[in-house]
Amino acid sequence: MTEPTIYELSSPGRTGVRYPAPDVPVSNLPKGFVRDNLPLPELSELDVIRHFTHLSSLNYSIDGGLYPLGSCTMKYNPKINEVTARIPGFALTHPLQPEDTVQGNLALMYDLQEHLKEISGFSAVCLEPAAGAQGEFVGVSIIRAYHRQNNNPKRTKILIPDSAHGTNPATSAMSGFEVVPVPSDSRGNVDLAALRAVCDDTVAGLMLTNPNTLGLFDENVLQVIKIVHEVGGLVYGDGANLNALLGITRPGDLGMDIMHFNLHKTFSTPHGGGGPGSGPVGVISRLADFLPSPIVKMIEEGTDEIAPLYSLFTPKHTIGRVKSFHGQFGMFVRAYTYIRMHGPEGLRKISEYAVLNANYLLSKIRNSYHLPYDRTCMHEFVVEGMWSDIPEIHALDIAKRLMDYKFHPPTNYFPLIVHEALMIEPTETESMQTLDLFADAMLKIAEEAKTSPQLLKEAPHDTPIGRLDELRAAKELVLCCWYPEEKQD
């Protein structure tokens, strides 16, 4: 059944919350400023609870099942995170309170900065960026500021491997850089000859995802970084795939200059149906002065009796503020809770098992799906969602059919360099039994593609709603469920 919208459920005169009458003498707002129509729905509390409970049941979620979306790291989100982030001592603090009344918040942010530094091998971290894409924006802005300070304004190009996330070229372009794509070689690494060919003194930097979006660790990563450094460019690491590297290697040690973290991928903060994310940025010491403001500094060391004193601080050559206040603080509490529960051994185990799970799953399905780059993968891998003898079947059909088997489909049609890509990231929190069930479904679908392709073309059959008419959505553009009368066309 279709769930009505809140406006369809509305009944004039109802309300879900009661407020007291004013306890102060009443004054009047000048007439010209009073709105005469407030077109909001009118519902009871139970109406609201039922409506959103019904809506929630139409969603697939990690709590409901395997969510193997490549490059998204849909791992289990521990429940304790939700409890710690809601501790009133955190949740009820105002961002502009005097610093001596929020020393607990500042201490937590400082400790998270320190942990992220140690995990990544960078010497400074700023927690402010709101999401991965904003972390990238910060990184690219730092690259620009660095070259300007060194009187190198002609460095106008950012190199981006063709396997990069879409946010990389978008970020570079919005920051005023020219985007120069770099192809991959036959083993899925950055093509060194092609890289050398575009490296000169107009290069500001390279945005490198490693492991890349094929799920492969670049076999020449040290050389790639060296080539860019030799022409005076900086190397930006896209930390979206850090879940493969915790305790395995540190991007800072490999020679990267800047990297963003995705707390909502690697460090288990929930994806929330599209956000909030959180994208702290780490840099080498030479770039620390360019970080956005604010970062947290310890201004007085503690003793056995007295806690250290922390303060918010603006770096000397800061690229400025990129969002309100201090970042997605509630996500810091969740991520730090998670990191503290793991410790160094636990962190390494996360990546070990993320990589074990991906390789195991690959071993189960590799005979039925073509693997364009046949190597040991990291935390994810990419197969082709097509067979040359069944040309009518596309990755999309496989993705939709997986829903009938009660699985969320993998990322599809990305990375762009693989035809009909299916990008699969199981994460470390899935058991062997769950992976076996998923592999079975993938194998059955490969079989069905041969025997009854129509089953795939018309999938999904078993979801709350069928394939939706996206063309109609874009053509008719109905973006609101209810228009106030005077605005109806």
Binding site: A130, G176, I248, G273, F325, P344, E345, S363, T429
Partner: protein, 450 residues
């Protein structure tokens, strides 16, 4: 804990892969940098981590420990219990961006409802699915206006009474654009500066004029003359607003705004030391293809059943890559859901009531403080729930002393406008009782004496 593998299972999996050990899977990582020893404290149990986090939290004082009169962009409001109970449903918060509509109708319909609520609340035609916060939404207004004129109108005018953080973020976002000129007007006299004073600075190079309503100092102005002048010069008007105020106030849409943005935190989102919050962005129909971020549209499935999908995705970074005008990917989905639930619960009557309570209490507080010897309320015009007071001694001093009375005083304006040393921006919401307001007034009288 969170990794379920038994030893036997791990061995079986390695066998299936054809590897001897887990370490073998990492032979591609350069030797020298493989398996670094991380110098971090050992992991702890759930029981212990909860204790640790409570210890951090205990070192804070909250807006429940203190009586809060601080706003300046983040506000203490009552959040009905139902909001968080629904947000805690794993079906919502452990879902990804709804790229697969068949199994994401819950998120999609909620976003569709959010878009409707925000468009109706602000008096505009369309809304996107959210930005990171009010400041980045303001910056995106600048980005949209710049691209709307293809960079040919490089000038953006900001009023000094726009939230300083919004202005700062807009500059960080746009400073890399070709020829961009960002000008803030009224910094010399922000408390005497009205939106109409911007009119003389608007010219053929101006793409966007940004004002705030209620402004950073809480004041409200009729924006219709400004809107007319902006349009006469062919530019766009963006209005930064407070969604609670719109429970009472005439909408920016009615004044002729082209873009309305703001911080959605007051709509059922906890203060949480500044985030996660919610940026909203609404505009007129004609600019729908220029909006950054996600949009949800209504459609039907093959059987004609109503459903929702992400639409106009060709604008976005994952399709357009370097041709996209914004790189936004993650947004504030769960916070938009919080606002949707909050507005559904309060509805037409509840939101009006909350807005009225804020308005009445703030006006009572302003009247009382204005009667104190040595204190002065700045400005005679209408305001919503924030106002500026001039104190007989420095605002910093006043705030420090108020803390001894367990009062979290207003925002010290000197932090942004150095000349306003004795000025405090005071916020009052439905959370402040008559007793608290009187206690603030009495305490101000006491702390300003010596």
């Amino acid at each position: 804990m969170f990794i379920p593998h038994t030893k036997a299972e791990t061995a079986q999996m390695l066998k299936s892969i054809g590897a001897k050990s887990i370490e073998d899977l990492f032979s591609v990582v350069p030797d020298k940098y493989r398996f670094p020893k991380l110098d971090l404290p050992s992991g702890v149990t759930e029981m212990d981590v909860l204790g640790e986090m409570k210890e951090y939290a205990a070192a804070n004082e909250t807006v429940e420990d203190l009586i809060c009169f601080l706003g300046a962009g983040a506000y203490s409001h009552y959040i009905p219990a139902a909001v968080d109970m629904l947000l805690r449903r794993g079906e919502f918060y452990t879902a990804y961006t709804p790229y697969q509509p068949e199994i994401s109708q819950g998120t999609l319909q909620a976003v569709f409802e959010f878009q409707t609520l925000m468009a109706n609340l602000t008096g505009m035609d369309v809304s996107n699915a959210s930005h990171y916060d009010g400041a980045t939404a303001t910056a995106e207004a600048g980005v949209m206006a710049y691209h709307n004129y293809r960079g040919k109108r490089p000038k953006i005018l900001l009023s000094a009474s726009v939230n300083p953080q919004n202005r700062e973020v807009l500059c960080s976002y746009l400073c890399g654009y070709e020829n961009i000129e960002i000008e803030t007007l009224g910094m010399e006299n922000p408390l005497d500066f009205s939106p109409d004073a911007m009119i003389s600075s608007i010219d053929e190079n101006t793409s966007l004029v940004v004002v705030q309503y209620p402004d950073f100092f809480g004041r409200i102005y009729d924006l219709s003359k400004l809107a007319n002048e902006v349009h006469a010069k062919g530019a766009l008007l963006a209005v930064v607003t407070n969604p609670i105020a719109l429970g009472l106030l005439k909408t920016p849409g009615e004044f002729g705004a082209d873009i309305v943005v703001g911080e959605g935190q007051p709509l059922g989102i906890p203060l949480s030391f500044g985030g996660p919050y919610l940026g909203f962005f609404t505009t007129k129909k004609e600019y729908v293809r220029k909006i950054a971020g996600r949009l949800v549209g209504e459609t039907v499935d093959a059987k004609g059943k109503r459903g929702y999908v992400l639409t106009l995705t060709a604008r976005e970074q994952h399709i357009r890559r370097e041709k996209a005008t914004s790189n936004i990917c993650s947004n504030q989905g769960l916070m938009a859901l919080a606002a949707t639930i909050y507005l559904s619960l309060l509805g037409k009557n509840g939101l009006k009531q909350v807005a009225d309570l804020c308005f009445q209490k703030a006006h009572y507080a302003a009247k009382k403080i204005g009667e104190l010897p040595g204190f002065k309320i700045i400005g005679k015009g209408p305001f919503f729930h924030e106002f500026v007071i001039q104190c007989p001694i420095s605002a910093k001093e006043i705030n420090e002393r108020l803390l001894d009375y367990q009062i979290l005083g207003g925002f010290e304006l000197a932090k942004v406008y150095p000349d306003l040393k004795n000025h405090l921006l005071v916020a009052v919401t439905e959370m402040n009782s008559l007793e608290e307001i009187e206690y603030l007034v009495n305490s101000l009288a006491e702390v300003s004496h010596d």
